[in-house]
Symmetry: C2
Subunit: 301 residues, 2 copies
């Protein structure tokens, strides 16, 4: 099974206490694609401007990513600039210039409408719904969102939730969407809104998944050198969907395995700027961290 | 092996969005003792005033807690009052009246100076050191602290850390003591200050333990009904030390098991005011949650 991702491809300018970078390859679909590329065939649908460096497209293609759905339009590429404080949990967005992304209306190329696994990265839920209307009976659809849409397009988001299988969101978004501070209750409430499972990303505290009945808790990989958290959530989603695609196992057990692979890909992502930490991994690097996570959670009782 | 705990026995007035209670049985040594009582013999050294209700002492004794080191002095019992907001992670202390606790100088009764396991609950590190000078070669000493001592009595705390085996603290305290925002690095730094292991309590995000080499991560028990978090950390410590005492296993594997039992006792604590959630458990209740945690963390990869 291959994976289709629809989201943003952007140029990020990021400053952390450890360094800064300008106009680096970023965007949700980018991080997702590079992470998922280690597991399966990935096709990306997104838009960039004429200024988008050819080398970035070559990087994606070198990872085997199908960029035939990456539309180049007149105008400038989506740009995001952010600054992280010393503790890396606080992020200030300095600038968001949507540019060609502002009028992005995703069109799924004919050959991709039969995609079995679909990831709707964080974009306007109305566009996420429009993507769903273009794909024929995918086996599993997962999506992400953000507080901006929870507050501004709640009705569309609620409609979308009825159509997706897995909602992947961070803890504050989950609490906000459910209007419930207890995360266990909140995640159950979101499951009640439609998806079969909700995966809650908690940054340094790992991830949690529930189908409304049972709960799975995965720790973060113990990273000592967190350099730049940008893209961690999308890399998590890439590892998650990639694992489902590679194994073809979307059972409860397969979903737990997918959370672990997501955790591992996020851990590589945060170790360098942009996709640097994920650009040239060996499969043994990934498996090594999966084994480490097994050890980190192991106990006899 | 029995456990000796030195800390506070207090009367707590707590208000949460779900209710309020006045002058309820509280204090670090209380929560610790009740939690540990399910595992082993516990002896408490603390001080209360003449106003301390006899029924509270009877409750401790009904759990088999040795209260011969609970001194009754002229004056009033330590009182604490706090209010929790809707999300229960924010707590405002409304009032702290130390009363007889202000001049507490713990004296370990002769028959307890040979205690094999010692828990130094959160009190002035100078007093914690004085307790250590009174006990003969315990097998394992664990301690807790708080930001107040990290900021105000750092030198004594650093001296204490060289003498203890396990430091049990919360995440913000760990970051503050190490002056390092990355919790993985921070916990290693604290290990470098002396203890063989550091256990970091992260509330709803569970707990983490390291010996400076390997890391263990335990999720919180997925509690939907968190009623009052007061005492959760001390109940965790009680389950932790109780488990070590019950099994006599202080190996790395025994310590991991202890973190799990600590997690379980904290989960019972937060479900009711005061020690209500832990007052009348069956061993099967505890084992049931240990099995549930095994399932919560299980994955095949």
């Amino acid at each position: 099974m291959g994976v289709l991702v629809v989201g943003s491809v952007a140029l990020d300018s990021v400053k952390t206490p450890f360094g800064e970078i300008e106009d680096a390859l970023g965007g949700s679909a980018t991080f997702f694609s590079v992470a998922a590329s280690y597991f399966t065939e990935v096709a990306v649908v997104a838009v960039v401007g004429r200024d988008f460096p050819e080398e970035h497209i070559r990087l994606l293609e070198s990872k085997g990513v199908d960029t035939s759905g990456l539309v180049v339009e007149d105008g400038e590429t989506f740009r995001w600039a952010g600054v992280y404080g010393y503790d890396l949990n606080d992020r200030d967005t300095i600038e968001t210039r949507l540019n060609v992304f502002e009028t992005f209306r995703p069109t799924i190329p004919g050959k991709l409408t039969g995609s079995e696994l679909v990831f709707l990265a964080n974009i306007d839920p109305e566009l996420q719904l429009s993507v769903l209307s273009q794909v024929r009976s995918p086996r599993l659809v997962a999506c992400d969102t953000m507080n901006f849409w929870i507050e501004g397009k709640r009705d569309s988001l609620v409609e979308l939730l009825r159509e997706v299988d897995v909602m992947i969101m961070n803890d504050s978004e989950c609490r906000e969407l459910a209007d419930e501070p207890n995360l266990i209750k909140a995640s159950r409430i979101v499951v009640g809104m439609g998806p079969k499972a909700v995966v809650v990303k908690k940054g340094e505290h790992g991830a949690m998944m529930t189908d409304g009945e049972s709960f799975f808790s995965a720790p973060a990989f113990p990273c000592e050198e967190v350099f730049d958290p940008t893209g961690a959530g999308d890399s998590f989603a890439g590892g998650f969907m990639g694992s489902l695609a590679k194994t073809g196992d979307i059972s409860a057990s397969g979903m737990r395995r997918a959370v672990i692979y997501g955790t591992v890909m996020a851990s590589f992502c945060v170790e360098q700027f942009s996709v640097g930490g994920m650009a040239s991994l060996e499969w043994s690097d990934i498996e090594g961290r999966v084994r480490a996570l097994k050890d980190v959670t192991h106990f006899e009782a």
